[in-house]
Structure formats: structure tokens, C-alpha cells
């Protein structure tokens, strides 16, 4: 039973996608390649996948019946939803910021989407919810770029403000009539290569590929990295730093809003506090995925890997019956450990 399912579904998707760390991969052969230099040439996005496989193997050792395709798909589905919620966070972190308004952007967009389906129709409500996310991001970005406030303070204030808006505007907190097309792109079962999986899994992977292409291969994406790595350098090179920052936060907000709709579609429920757990876990997924919290480094492929690690941790926590409070504790510990590990490598 243990050899039935080597985790083939997540790894091809990551290896076929573009290398996220364009800088480190080709350092040229100088002398004999040592073990360390070979390790150094491995793209950062690979490490979280290695960590995931190790955790998966540990899970298999504890409970051999965990090593099944269904269990893997279950973990991957949980991970991809977390990853979709963390894509926006990735973009904020790359530009040396952070978006702590992700939780209530998720909640607001989900509730607004459900409330607007009646008057605007599903597609209109979908567009309106994404636009709301982009507007939230615009305000975040404008305050951060133009007024120079720190991203943490700005976005956490925005998060609080949004919660107030949610409580005022949506005094009903449970809405369960989910439009069909949202179910079709999220919880509907698809059969890919003979494996049955919810539609959200290929959707999330497709979104990952698109975003990674934008980040790696467009002028906007590379400008975002320059701004994140050295803002003053970007400014003195004549890059429109403020515009790049603001559009970055707008994309971040729109992606969080998209995550809200995906969560509604998959879990078929929405509430004012539905995004709360994504505050810590979105940052954790980004950081475990190899992004530098100081900016200038990160990839959405890595974020998917980070989300897989966290999802597997959640699975193990459930299997070992530790309870969800322990899960938060472990997430916090993972963030601290990963940040200190990557911080060391940065200093070396």
C-alpha cells in the first residue's frame, strides 16, 4: 500500500512551472561543485515540497492508511484553498510589504458576493466582489506608498475597518444559497487523469501558473521585485515605485477577494469571521514557501509548496487528535523557525 501513491500530482506541477528564483540558479561552474553549491543551486520553491514529502512520509509511518490518493487529494485541496488565499499575500511580501487585511477582505468579498448575486446576477456579483477587493487594495497601497505608513499598521487598521463594515452591512451572517457556477469551479468533482478531485485544485494550480508567469516574465513582475529588494534603487532608476506598490496591493486585494468566493463555493457557507484563520496561515504559507519577509524574494509556486506543508501539518494534527489550538501553535512555531533559518542564510 505504501508505494501506491507517490505524490505525483503536486510535484509535476511545480517542476514544470517556471523557476521562481531567476537569480540563484545559474552561478556557473567554478572548480569542483561541492555539496553545498549543489544545494545552493536548488530553487527555493523545491524545499517546501521536500518538507511536504517528509511530512507525508511521517504521516504514512504513523497511520499507513493515510497514504492513499484520496488522502493526498484531500490535503492538496485544503492546501490549494489556503494557497489561493495566500497568493495576494505573496505579492505583498515580495514588494517588502505585508497584507494583514486578507482575512476580512475574504469575509467581505464572500458576503458581498452572496448579497449581490440577487440584484446583479452571479457574474456581476463576482466582478463586483473582485472590484471591492481591488478597491481595498488600492486604499492600502495608496496609504502605504503616498503617505509612507508602514504596511503592518496600515493593513491591520484596514482589517479592523473592514470588520466594522462587515458587521454593519451584513447583519445576517449565514448565507447558504451558492450560485451554480461558483460550485462548478470549486467543489464540483472533476476527473483528471482518472483521479477524482474537486475543481478548485486545477483552478488553483492554473492561477498559480498564470501568476508565476506574471511575476517572472513581465516588466511589472520584475519591477515589483526591484521595488521589494531596494525601493530607493527603484526610485532612482526612474521606476514608478508608487504605482507599482499600489497595483501590487490592488492585485493582492483582488486575489484575497477571489479566495473569499472560492471558500464560499467550496464550503458553501459564509460568516463574518470566516477569514480569521487566514491571518496567520497566509503569512505562514508565504514564508514557508521561501519568500523573504524583507522583500525582493518569493514565488507563488513556493507559496503552494508552503501551503502543502501547512496542510499536511493540519492533517497530522487531526490524525494525532491534538486539536485546532495546537495547530495554531505549530503554525506560529513554523513561521519563527523558517524566518530564522532563512534569515541566517541571508546573512551568510
Amino acid at each position: 500500500m505504501t508505494t501506491v501513491a507517490p505524490p505525483s500530482s503536486p510535484s509535476p506541477s511545480s517542476s514544470s512551472s517556471p523557476s521562481p528564483d531567476a537569480g540563484t540558479s545559474t552561478t556557473g561552474a567554478v572548480g569542483r561543485p561541492s555539496f553545498g553549491s549543489i544545494l545552493g543551486r536548488v530553487p527555493r520553491a523545491v524545499w517546501p515540497l521536500v518538507a511536504f514529502l517528509v511530512l507525508f512520509a511521517i504521516g504514512g509511518l504513523i497511520r499507513p492508511n493515510l497514504v492513499t490518493v484520496e488522502s493526498l487529494i484531500g490535503t492538496a485541496t485544503f492546501a490549494i484553498i489556503l494557497a489561493i488565499a495566500s497568493f495576494g499575500q505573496t505579492i505583498a511580501v515580495i514588494q517588502a510589504g505585508i497584507d494583514l487585511s486578507v482575512p476580512n477582505t475574504i469575509g467581505l468579498s464572500a458576503l458581498a458576493f452572496l448579497a449581490l448575486v440577487g440584484p446583479l446576477g452571479p457574474l456581476g456579483a463576482f466582478v463586483a466582489a473582485l472590484a471591492a477587493g481591488a478597491v481595498i487594495g488600492f486604499f492600502n497601497g495608496a496609504v502605504i506608498a503616498k503617505l509612507g505608513l508602514t504596511p503592518i499598521v496600515t493593513t491591520i487598521a484596514m482589517n479592523g475597518l473592514l470588520f466594522g463594515v462587515i458587521l454593519l452591512a451584513f447583519n445576517f451572517s449565514e448565507l447558504t444559497v451558492t450560485p451554480d457556477f461558483v460550485i462548478a469551479i470549486t467543489s464540483a468533482k472533476l476527473s483528471v487523469l482518472g483521479i477524482s478531485m474537486p475543481a478548485v485544485l486545477p483552478l488553483g494550480l492554473a492561477l498559480m501558473v498564470v501568476l508565476q508567469l506574471v511575476l517572472s516574465f513581465t516588466g511589472w513582475g520584475r519591477s515589483l521585485f526591484v521595488v521589494g529588494a531596494a525601493a530607493e534603487t527603484a526610485r532612482l532608476a526612474g521606476l514608478p515605485v508608487d504605482r507599482i506598490r499600489i497595483t501590487g496591493y490592488m492585485l493582492s486585494g483582488a486575489l484575497a477577494a477571489f479566495a473569499g468566493i472560492v471558500i464560499v463555493g467550496y464550503y458553501q457557507q459564509a460568516s463574518a469571521t470566516m477569514g480569521a484563520s487566514y491571518l496567520l496561515s497566509s503569512v505562514a504559507a508565504v514564508v514557508v514557501g521561501g519568500a523573504s519577509i524583507f522583500g525582493g524574494r518569493g514565488s507563488v509556486v513556493g507559496t503552494v509548496g508552503g501551503a502543502l506543508v501547512l496542510a499536511q501539518v493540519a492533517t497530522l494534527v487531526t490524525v494525532l487528535n491534538l486539536g485546532s489550538n495546537i495547530q495554531q501553535l505549530i503554525y506560529g512555531a513554523i513561521i519563527l523557525v523558517v524566518i530564522s533559518l532563512y534569515g541566517r542564510r541571508r546573512a551568510a
Binding site: S216, V226, L236, I244
Partner: protein
Amino acid sequence: MSTPTPAPPIATGASTASASAPQTAPPDARPAAPPADALLVATDLVKSYGPVKAVQGVTFHCNPGEVLALVGENGAGKSTVAKMLAGAVTPTSGTIIVGGEPLASGSVKQSRLSGVRCAFQELALVPDWTVAENLSLPDGAPLRGFSQKKSVAAASALLSAFDLPHIDPRAAVGTLSLADRQLVEIARALAGKPRLLILDEASSALTPPGVQWLFTRIRELTAAGGSVIYVSHRLGEIAEIADRGTVLRDGQVAGEFVRGGWTDDELISLMAGREAERFFPDPPERTTDAVALSVTELRSEGLDGVSLSLGAGEILGIGGLQGHGQAELLRALFGAAPAVADEWTIAGRRIKGTTPVRSVRHGLGYVPEDRKREGLALEMSVGENLLAPWLKAYQLGGRPRLAMERGWIDGILSALSVRTRGSNELAGSLSGGNQQKLVFGRWMDRSRTVILLHDPTRGIDVRAKQELYGAIVDLAKQGVGILWFSTEVEELVHVCHRVVVLYQGKVADELTGGRLTADAIVGAAVGSTGSISLTTDEEDLR
């Protein structure tokens, strides 16, 4: 820092020093046998970073009361050696003996206790702290309880003892000019009354009076039996202050010299490993009278109405002492700082004001002061750093763009002889001179009208300087107007068509033709009163 306790750390060094008077030509010029009373003996120092050997087997010694120069190009290993002596870097192998006892390596604190102090090239001050707080930092004063009042009093006493009355101990270090910050850094090292003082490019931002101030301090220290290791590129300074010297090249000792026994050309060829050509190129013949940039009564913070005009293909030098508006002028012209002017044209087109984005669109390029913070994204690749100004949101970026621009990138890298393993290497792993070439190179062959240079040759080696001079002259030949602020007077004299000297935010003088001499620039830089006396007669002017 703590002035109430006059501990005599120099006395311990002097006890072994039989002759503490400054010697001019020590007889033991051969590297093989350090004298028994040597203050510092470094033997076979090796430092490798992974496969890269920054320093491979460096041996030298320093006698009490002596100034030992450590010279070499950037990347030759000088800074690494200096950091090993200071305890900031642990040697991979080799020994360092200070005053007869091995130096506990890898600990700045241990080095300090052995009487070794270092003023680092990258200023190791806390920008948000005041001068007084920074000066009290090395003593671990914060651990013993800290008093603003006492530290300010101690700092003013120290600054006046070191003849630096113009620095306010209550000012945050970040608000000081680069030169003043460097003076504070040196003062902090001196405050520890070191037996051995390491000055790592400590004069790179200093003006001529600042350098004279530094030399006075060095002579005080050596007269008391202390020793100085002086790391510098500036041969004029080495000729004046160094008793002996060690030349490093590619992490090894390339040669040694004693006071008076060398010429600039010999030293340059030792450093570069080849016969040096003529140091400065001539500015090219001007072929057009077109005006590339003109500004009338430019006002900004630190600028009090500057008018100047720069022709196409002209190299216009900006001279003056640090902090008289040169940096502000370049920033204002590029739009990096807000500024207004009565009249302002770029390539004949009138503009009201500008921002960096608009300046680049109008054909300006800017090489800023601090290449690590303002010039480069160190964690990104060489190619992407070159391309940074030319990224457009809706166009390709990253690898496809690099492939498209392959020809341009390779052209820049080879035209400037950038020593890199390719355009995918991280910019942060290049040496300082090669990093500077990237900041400069991104504006080459991009149909620029004007390029603003903020002291691009500061702290880079001789060979890199010559390559930059060549590139600047080539750009001028293509009709680009070059506005070049330099702290090296000889660059202004030899490579510029015309030099404008700023004093207190205004144009003090404009020098061309026969009036363009080093003395005239320095004279104008100190203002008409001439209150600061200078000893420039020793400088080797070509």
C-alpha cells in the same frame, strides 16, 4: 568614550617598543622576519567563502609607532584582512598576534580588549541614534545604564579634543553628511585609545581638510606609540602618511614598499598586475554647441540659486567640499528631491520640475551616491540590475527580456570589463568597483541626453577607475552631456572640460582652460575667505 577613566592602553604596547619614535625608513624591509617587538604579526591568513578564496596566505607585520598602508584593488582582499584584524571576520586559517599574544579571532569585543579598533569602510553607525549615543556604543554603556546628559557631555569633550567642534553631539547620525559620519566613525575608533587603529578606506568620503585632520590624528597616535593600518586607494595620501606598505593582489601579497621608495606608476602596476597606462584620459573635442541641460536659479534644500548650463558632449565637473550642495544639486536635477527654478530646460525643452520617472523619460540618467542602497538591488541578478530603468509594466521582463537584450547587456559588461560570471550572477556578489560599473552601465547606449554622476569612482580600485574614465569620455564623444561631481580634484582637473565649484549652495567659481587647476578648485571650494589652510603642495599632481 568614558573620559573620566584615563586608562593607559598605549603604555602596554610601549613597554615592548624600544624605539617608539616614528621611523621614516625601517631597515627591515624584507617580509621574511618580523622584528621581535612587532606590534602585530599576521601569518598566512586565509579566508574562504565557500569555493571563493578572498584571502589566500597573507603575511605582514606592523611595528609600534608605524603607519602601515594596505593597498590593492577592490576585491584584492584588503577589507577582508582589515575585518579579520578587527575580529569581525574569522580567518579560515592563519594566525594574528597582537603585542605577543594571539588574537582571539571572530570577536570584535576581544579585538577591542587587545587594543585593536577599526573604522569600517561601510559605516558601522546607527543612523537613528545621536552622535553621542553612537560614540558611547562601543563601551557597552547601555548595559550599565545610560545617561543622555553624561553621554552628550562626554561626546562634546571628545569631539573638541579631536578638533571636531562643528559636529553636534545631539544630532542624529543619519542627518549628518557622509563626510561627517565618517569623521564620527573615526572619532569613535580613536576614542578607545587603540594600540592598533585600522582605517578601512576611512578617507574615502573626506574632503582635503578632513584628510589633513585625519593625518593629524594619526600622527598624534603614532607619536604615542600606537600603530595604524591604513587601507586606501589614494596614492597621494599613502605617499604622505605611510611609513611602509603592503600591496595585495587577488588575495595575496604582491609586494611591499617603504616610504620614499616607490612611484605611483610602480605601485599601480603592482596593484593591477600590469603596466599602468596614463592615468587620466583627456576630455574629447566638442563638436557641437547644443545645450543638453540648463537651469537658472535652481533652489532646493541646500541649494541657494544655482545656475548652470551643460552642453551636449561636454563633461562638466562639480567641485567643492562635501556638504556644499553638490549631492543636492544632482538630486534636484534628477527630481529625486523637490526643487524649483526660474528656467529649466532639458535638450531645449522647457520643464517646470521633474520626478525620477519623468527625468528618465526626458533622457536623464543618474548614478547615485550609495551604490549598495540607492544604485543596485543586491539580491537581483546583474542583468536585471542593468535593465531596472527600462522595465515597462506591460512589456516582458525577467528571462525572456534578458534574452532579448542579450546583445546590449553583453556589450555593457564587456565595454566596462565587468568581472562577473555572467548576467545571472547576483549583483551583491560583485566587488565594489564592478557594482559601480553596473550602476553606470545601465545608462550606456540608451540614447541619454544627460548623465548625472555622483562621485562614481569613490572607493573603487585604480583599474576600475580607468575603465570608468574611458566610458565617461566615450559617452561624451557620443554627445551625452556629463555632469560629474567628484571628490577627487585630479579627476576634475584632467577629465573635465569645465568645472563649477559650489560653496554653501551657490556657484563659487567656474573654471576652464588655463584656470582649471587643482589649486584653483580647492581655493574656490573653501570660499573667498580662505579660512582653512591646506597643504596641497605634497600632492602629486599630473
